[in-house]
């Protein structure tokens, strides 16, 4: 039996919609799931059918930030969510906006936030559906993270979730894990320049990967690359505070980055940095493809 899915867009850029369309085995997916509504994929119901009735459905996907003021087909998204969350098995927040508020938390709608969180803060509303919700943060969400989570729901897998209701399977990693620039980080070679294959961006260019929970360097984007491999700092787009300010710079206090890798204390960091600097590895001072 196909599982029935409602894709509901709130205050969004539809980046998650298009990220989803990049899922390579979409044909397989559409054999196993059916959208009762989706922004661009044909569905048996119109948006008006969806908001005026309560069409039977198994999973509610929410994309975009939420505010009572924001409407779809003249009905407040909050009302639509209230209606469907009662009948579905699971609610999945797709993307950082739907999870934490994201960029559109700052848009002009009143009290805009994610479904259960306003950045890191837990919200009181929707408590009754808390145990039905899975959060998939990311701006946008990786298509494999979305699709595989939906399959896990279909198979009734008991998903282990973190404090923000994100499946650990994808969010227990940090983006730092798997970056091709790791050696430069380890040995604290901070000679990164844009437009080069060498160097780690943590020390000067604001790379947030060591404290950002996501699988970008494990699953890879579009099956080929990641921001940090390409040479773009991780912007921390899966985290509650996304977007922070001054994204291309590393905020420091007395020369030490303000945000340290997950689980590393300041003193440990200093000790480690002292030791690793002493290595002075020639190979890492040169261009990778030097003759």
């Amino acid at each position: 039996m196909k599982m029935r899915v409602l894709w509901l867009s709130a205050i969004a850029c539809n980046g998650n919609t298009h990220s989803f369309l990049n899922y390579p085995y979409i044909e397989q997916f559409l054999n196993d799931f059916e959208f009762i509504y989706h922004q661009v994929i044909d569905s048996a119901y119109s948006l008006e059918d969806i908001v005026l009735n309560q069409i039977p459905c198994d999973i509610l996907l929410i994309e975009g930030a939420i505010s009572r003021e924001f409407q779809r087909a003249d009905v407040s998204v909050i009302e639509i969510i209230e209606s469907y969350s009662k009948i579905v098995q699971k609610i999945v927040t797709v993307g950082t906006c739907a999870t934490f508020g994201g960029i559109f938390r700052e848009s002009d709608y009143e009290n805009t936030s994610g479904l259960h969180f306003n950045q890191e803060k837990s919200l009181g509303n929707f408590q009754d559906i808390l145990d039905k919700t899975v959060s998939l943060s990311g701006c946008p969400v990786h298509p494999e993270v979305l699709v595989n989570t939906l399959y896990a729901i279909k198979k009734s897998v008991n998903l282990k979730l973190d404090n923000f209701l994100r499946p650990k399977e994808f969010y227990a990693y940090t983006v730092h894990n798997g970056c091709t620039r790791n050696e430069y980080f380890e040995y604290k070679v901070d000679n990164h320049k844009f437009g080069e294959l060498e160097g780690c961006m943590y020390y000067d260019h604001g790379c947030q990967a060591p404290y950002t929970h996501a699988s970008c360097n494990k699953i890879l984007w579009n099956e080929v690359n990641s921001k940090t491999r390409a040479g773009l700092p991780c912007m921390g787009c899966t985290e509650p505070k996304f977007p922070k300010q001054n994204l291309f710079e590393t905020k420091k206090n007395m020369g030490i980055p303000e945000y340290l890798p997950v689980g590393v204390g300041k003193r440990t960091y200093l000790t480690l940095a002292g030791i690793t600097k002493a290595f002075n590895i020639q190979r890492l001072q040169k261009k990778l493809f030097d003759d």
Binding site: S9, I11, A12, C13, N14, G15, N16, T17, H18, S19, L21, N22, Y23, P24, I26, E27, Q39, V40, I41, D42, S46, L47, E48, Q71, R72, A73, D74, I103, F104, E106, S107, D108, C139, P140, K193, F194, G195, E196, L197, C216, W221, N222, E223, V224, N225, S226, K227, T228, R229, A230, G231, L232, M235, C237, P243, Q245, N246, L247, F248, F289
Partner: protein, 419 residues
Amino acid sequence: MIKLIEKIEGEAKLNFNFKDNKIDFVDIEFMSTRNIENILKGKSAFDALVINPRVCGICGHAHLIATVEALESCYDNLQISNKAKSLRELTLNFELIQNHFKWFYLTMMPLFGHKQEVLKATYPSQLMGKAIALFGGQYPHTSYAVVGGVVCDITEMDIIKLQHYIEQTVKFVEDNLIKMESESFSTCKSVDNILKYEGDLPDILRQIKKEELLAYGKSYGRFISFGENSYFKKGKSLKTRVNNNIFIEHAKESETATSFAKNVSYKDKYYEVGPLARAMVNKNKLILDAHRKYGDSIFSRILARVSEISQLLKHSKKLIQKLDLNEPSYIEPCIDIKQFSSSGYSAVEAARGTLIHKVELENGFIKNYEIITPTQWNLSGGTREKQGVSQKAMIGLYDIKMAELVFKTFDVCSVCTTH
């Protein structure tokens, strides 16, 4: 009669007024806005590179390129390598192409009564997504173009991979879209010739002829295009008369009472932007032929958009051949943006047409930011006396379904329109 138009990345309301059974005016209403220009205020300049792709999930890359060029225009003597310029142009081409595939297969074909074949949209657009990700790290929502160049460095291996993505896309075009050599399609001069071939595109075009829809969707025949690069020219065209002297200062936004989308006009006149406009300004032979025969109708609009796929694939191959990998990808600007109070603007061609960004900086922070999106040009909701481009294109139709089709040939995107 009000109809909710959906599956346009959001929704719009069209309020149809009939006279003698024919549509005589359509009021276009977009019901929401996210106001990203306000979000940008007070942020440090470079953060716009991260925020702006989030204006739109389908053409976010055009917003990135527009942002970086607007910021760069604030500098006096900024150096950008040819390699960086070409890479940006390539990734922008790839975004245009993926958009055209999605529009044709997900939106257009079903409106002509065909079953939606999701895979035909997603397979080639995924290839183009990979091509962007190769340089940009991911697609959608990369910020790989930064002031001074691009963040990636590329190797011969990347080029080989890229060529494979392009060749696969070409093959898809030849196997599905139109069963002729993609290169010949890109230089074909005659509509009649196109109609002789098999494929999803000629099928739709023949259907338009057969169902006698050739006169549908005509507007003013006034076109404009601001984004210049090695392929697109800047200019406006009235029918086939092209004038390349146009100035962004004359492009004006105005608020409307009934909609969250602002209208955009050039010297107080509404112009069509997009692939058809680009082709008219570029004097593309095939589209001139279509225009001569069928004007700015749905026939010409669809043909212009889809044929751009092959043209851009071909042009991208040329750009790749000319790449000099020894050039730097990035040249650090000599002035720190934090010391900057200046203003600038940019115009790029996004899939749906001209996209304009204007920025004002104060000590490296954004004081003001304005975005004019392509769909605002096409979907401007004018008055009865002075109708917008798509409004005019729907006048005289009998049937709301047909009007929706005409409306959607402009490739409506509600997130962009209302940003």
